[in-house]
């Protein structure tokens, strides 16, 4: 009787261990592969959302306005998770093309890189700040460490294309909110230029530190698609 019971117990324990192994394996598949599939689906939906709302043809008078001019029409603040802008970073690949969403909560960042809600708008004087995953969920910022000074960061929003060039990148602590200041690292200073800030985790697969990339606006033009729709 005892020998049978031992055998049965060992059998159940063995089955549970095998089950646990299979579940861990499935979790690895989920983390490394499936989150990317889900994010790719979200990006397709965001792409349609962006294309349907974004190319508002810019008013002709706006194009000659200096970058310091206030936005021509007050656009309502987008809701968390909504498509906000398109970002392209040629250094990370010609097809590196992401729809940035509004917000940096975990739920927002599963859809794509997210804009810090209180940061400046692209092209505006101040600091336009974006966070993105470096691993899982399509890992948009996986290779952010490859950016070098002078590399292009292109941001499209509302029919305008803003070209930034990378100025610096460095690693800092997870609570270093000074990188988001209108003048990065100088909280309280009055901004005179438009800058962009990208944040992600560092090292990859760790939350110990943050990798920060700053860029400076070098030019704004209307997007070819936006002008093309004007007749």
């Amino acid at each position: 009787m005892t020998a049978d019971r031992v055998r049965a117990t060992v059998g159940v324990v063995g089955e549970l261990l095998i089950t646990a192994g299979v579940v861990v394996g499935l979790f690895a598949v989920y983390t490394l592969f499936w989150t990317g599939v889900e994010t790719a689906g979200e990006q397709q939906a965001l792409e349609r959302e962006f294309e349907s709302t974004d190319p508002e043809p810019p008013e002709p008078s706006v194009e000659a306005a200096p970058p310091q001019a206030p936005p021509p029409q007050a656009t309502p603040e987008p809701l968390p998770g909504d498509a906000y802008a398109r970002m392209r970073i040629p250094r990370l690949g010609e097809d590196w093309n992401w729809i940035v969403v509004q917000g940096v909560d975990l739920a927002d960042l599963t859809r794509g890189p997210g804009r810090y809600p209180d940061s400046a708008e692209p092209g505006q004087v101040g600091n336009f700040a974006v966070a993105g995953h470096r691993a899982t969920y399509g890992e948009p910022f996986a290779y952010l460490d490859r950016l070098e000074p002078g590399d292009e960061i292109v941001v499209e929003r509302e029919g305008q294309e803003h070209l930034y060039r990378v100025s610096t990148s460095y690693v800092t602590g997870p609570d270093d909110t000074a990188v988001l200041a209108p003048v990065p690292r100088e909280p309280g200073a009055t901004p005179r230029t438009a800058v962009i800030t990208l944040t992600t985790c560092h090292p990859r697969w760790s939350s110990e530190e943050r990798l920060i990339v700053h860029g400076i606006l070098v030019g704004t033009s209307s997007t070819p698609t936006a002008t093309g729709t004007q007749t």
Partner: protein, 51 residues
């Protein structure tokens, strides 16, 4: 454990195989839609913003 489940499934072998497959599908579906999305937030590297 799995033997016990197999023995308690009704019907001929073909039906049992179909039932087992649908059970597996249900469990995997639950893992991918509920359990894993919760578990992944505990992985390191999920905090990408400064705050």
């Amino acid at each position: 454990m799995y033997g016990w489940i197999w023995n308690h499934l009704p019907g001929p072998t073909v039906l049992r195989v179909l039932l087992v497959l649908s059970l597996i599908a249900a469990v995997v579906g639950l893992l991918f839609t509920v359990v894993f999305p919760w578990a992944v937030t505990w992985l390191p590297g999920q905090d990408v913003s400064v705050e």
